[in-house]
């Protein structure tokens, strides 16, 4: 009996190799883990956003729901889950249904390749950078589908603006990431993290690295449709933009996708420029380096990503909004030329070996 139903027998019967099935099982485990991770992350991030925004504005955030409002996101989630589901009358049903899933699937796929620690990286694609750029296109598609499928001219307008903005700022993002790829020489994300053993790229690739970091920061904020670049969902311009007609669970998918995207971009920034899970080493101070090594690498990664998320929220609650033409002008006339010049300079720096701790 046991011999008939073992894994190898099964796979022989189904004509699949057992190695493939085993890998498939690992991927399934990874997906379940990622989904759990997303839910927990959303809880923490939404609460953090409200508290940080409140303290920047000299007030207290949610205070009454749990101790100091910890259970606030849980209440929000349960309430959104139980709302009535409204589908507009003449909406394009297929697009209306699929749009939130596209946005969420984009974030899920991006989360699969981020290296959290030397052992935890779900899939290590050897074209990691290109994969990340390609998969964020799914999110843009979801936005445009949401706007068109709602049968609402203001949603369509907001979606067109949001789509144009996200597509434009992809360019700047990719240009900054390419700087680091030039330095590392490989597209694989784990290689990029391992190459920062002697020092993080933000100061190793001096000048060029700092400029690439700032460019990535600005274009990440724009990629996420956050203030100061959130004209597409700016509340006083187009009521809620492309997700005006969504309510309940569908809206919570968009909401979730925005926050998880923020985590992904912060993780990308910390992987490429701040060393990923690499601890902070200074040159030859072995005692200091050993002390830094005591902290587990996952904690390093989470710490760096949290600092970047705080910077995103800090930027959001400080600056006013840009108009849509100022937005596009910023990208095509300022950031993209700067990006190309930066890439060119980076190529020169790499070729002449003009960086520290070489």
């Amino acid at each position: 009996m046991n011999a008939n139903w073992s894994l190898s027998n099964l796979t022989e019967r189904i004509n699949m190799s057992s190695v493939f099935v085993e890998q498939l099982m690992w991927v399934a485990v990874g997906l379940i883990g990622v989904v759990t991770f997303i839910s927990l992350l959303a809880l923490v991030l939404v609460y953090a956003e409200r508290k940080i925004c409140a303290h920047i504005q000299c007030r207290l955030g949610p205070m009454r729901v749990g101790w100091h409002g910890i259970l606030q996101t849980l209440a929000d989630g349960i309430k959104l889950f139980l709302k009535e589901d409204i589908i507009p009358d003449e909406a394009d049903r297929l697009l209306y249904f699929l749009a939130p899933f596209f946005c969420l699937v984009a974030t899920l796929l991006s989360l699969l390749v981020i290296p959290l620690s030397p052992q935890v990286q779900i899939i290590d694609v050897n074209i990691g950078v290109i994969y990340l750029g390609a998969v964020s296109g799914f999110g843009i598609l979801g936005v445009i589908m949401a706007g068109w499928g709602s049968n609402n001219k203001w949603s369509a307008l907001g979606a067109m603006r949001a789509g144009a903005q996200m597509v434009s700022y992809e360019i700047s993002t990719t240009l900054s990431l390419l700087v680091i790829v030039l330095f590392v020489g490989s597209l694989q994300l784990s290689e990029i993290v391992l190459s920062q053993q002697e020092g993080w790229w933000i100061w190793r690739a001096h000048g060029v690295g700092v400029l690439a970091f700032i460019l990535l920061l600005i274009s990440s904020v724009a990629e996420l449709n956050r203030t100061p670049f959130d004209l597409a969902e700016g509340e006083s311009e187009l009521t809620a933009g492309f997700h005006t007609e969504y309510s309940g669970v569908r809206f919570s998918f968009f909401f979730l996708a925005e926050f998880i995207n923020m985590f992904i971009l912060a993780a990308m920034m910390s992987t490429f420029f701040l060393g990923g899970w690499m601890p902070f080493h200074i040159g030859q101070l072995t005692a200091f380096n050993a002390a830094m090594d005591l902290i587990p690498p996952a904690i390093w990664f989470i710490g760096k990503t949290s600092v970047m998320i705080f910077v995103f929220m800090w930027i959001r609650w400080t600056f006013p909004r840009l108009r849509v033409d100022q937005l596009m002008k910023l990208e095509w006339q300022v950031l993209m030329p700067l990006g190309f010049v930066n890439l060119f300079l980076a190529a020169i720096v790499v070729l002449t070996n003009f960086y520290f701790f070489a």
Binding site: R59, L60, P62, R64, A75, K79, L82, I86, S247
Partner: protein, 213 residues
């Protein structure tokens, strides 16, 4: 009193969780017509009286994503059909707070006005009334506390769409239970249950679109 009927244990425990979550995460719709809107802005968005403490800081501009409609300001006859449209666009567990004297009964315009309607409950069913002209931000916060009380006690999955208002639980401070005679008590208990959906349909306000249906 008359409101806690015998519900099975499972339904009442699910109700507790569901009502807790709905009461603690009310998302208001950004709707303000006149002077009461200033006080509502102070109550929701300022740093001194902060509605975010109650979890209600996410003021959504789109009615599809909001579930609390704080009517702040006079409702004129031109605005009335649009208010009804907005109310109908909100998804189902939806609550209405009528702020200020103009929305309770017409306020300063109740006597002699050609253009206002005498109270928002001519058009949409209202849950909580907050009197004042305009009410203090703290009075509006008290109104939201009253609404939370009503959600936690008066709604259940066993009777969806109906709301049993625990009217005697939120009395204006000038009244005590002693002053309400016993017949009045029974009357309020009986009449305090109302079906929100029926009530929304039977409003006496006739708009052109409404009449053509």
């Amino acid at each position: 009193m008359g409101l806690s009927e015998d519900k099975p244990w499972l339904i009442s425990s699910i109700d507790q969780v569901v009502n807790w979550s709905r009461a603690n995460s009310l998302w208001p719709l950004a709707f303000g017509t006149s002077c009461c809107a200033i006080e509502m802005m102070m109550a929701t968005n300022s740093s001194k009286f902060d509605l975010a403490r109650f979890g209600a800081e996410v003021v959504r501009p789109s009615p599809r994503q909001a579930d609390l409609l704080i009517i702040a300001g006079t409702i004129v006859k031109k605005m009335a059909p649009r208010l009804k449209t907005l109310y109908e666009q909100m998804p189902e567990p939806r609550y209405v707070i009528a702020t200020g004297a103009c929305t309770i009964s017409g306020g300063p315009f109740v006597y002699n006005s050609y253009s206002t309607i005498r109270g928002a409950d001519e058009i949409i069913p209202v849950d909580v009334y907050v009197p004042g002209c305009p009410p203090r931000p703290e009075a509006l916060l008290y109104g939201i506390l009253t609404l939370q009380r009503m959600i936690k006690e008066g709604e259940s999955m066993a009777w969806t769409g109906k709301r049993k208002k625990p009217v005697l639980a939120a009395l204006p401070p000038a009244i005590t239970g002693d002053d309400i005679y016993s017949e009045m008590q029974v009357l309020l208990d009986e009449q305090s249950e109302f079906n929100v959906r029926e009530r929304a349909k039977e409003s006496t306000w006739h708009t052109k679109e409404y009449d053509e249906k």
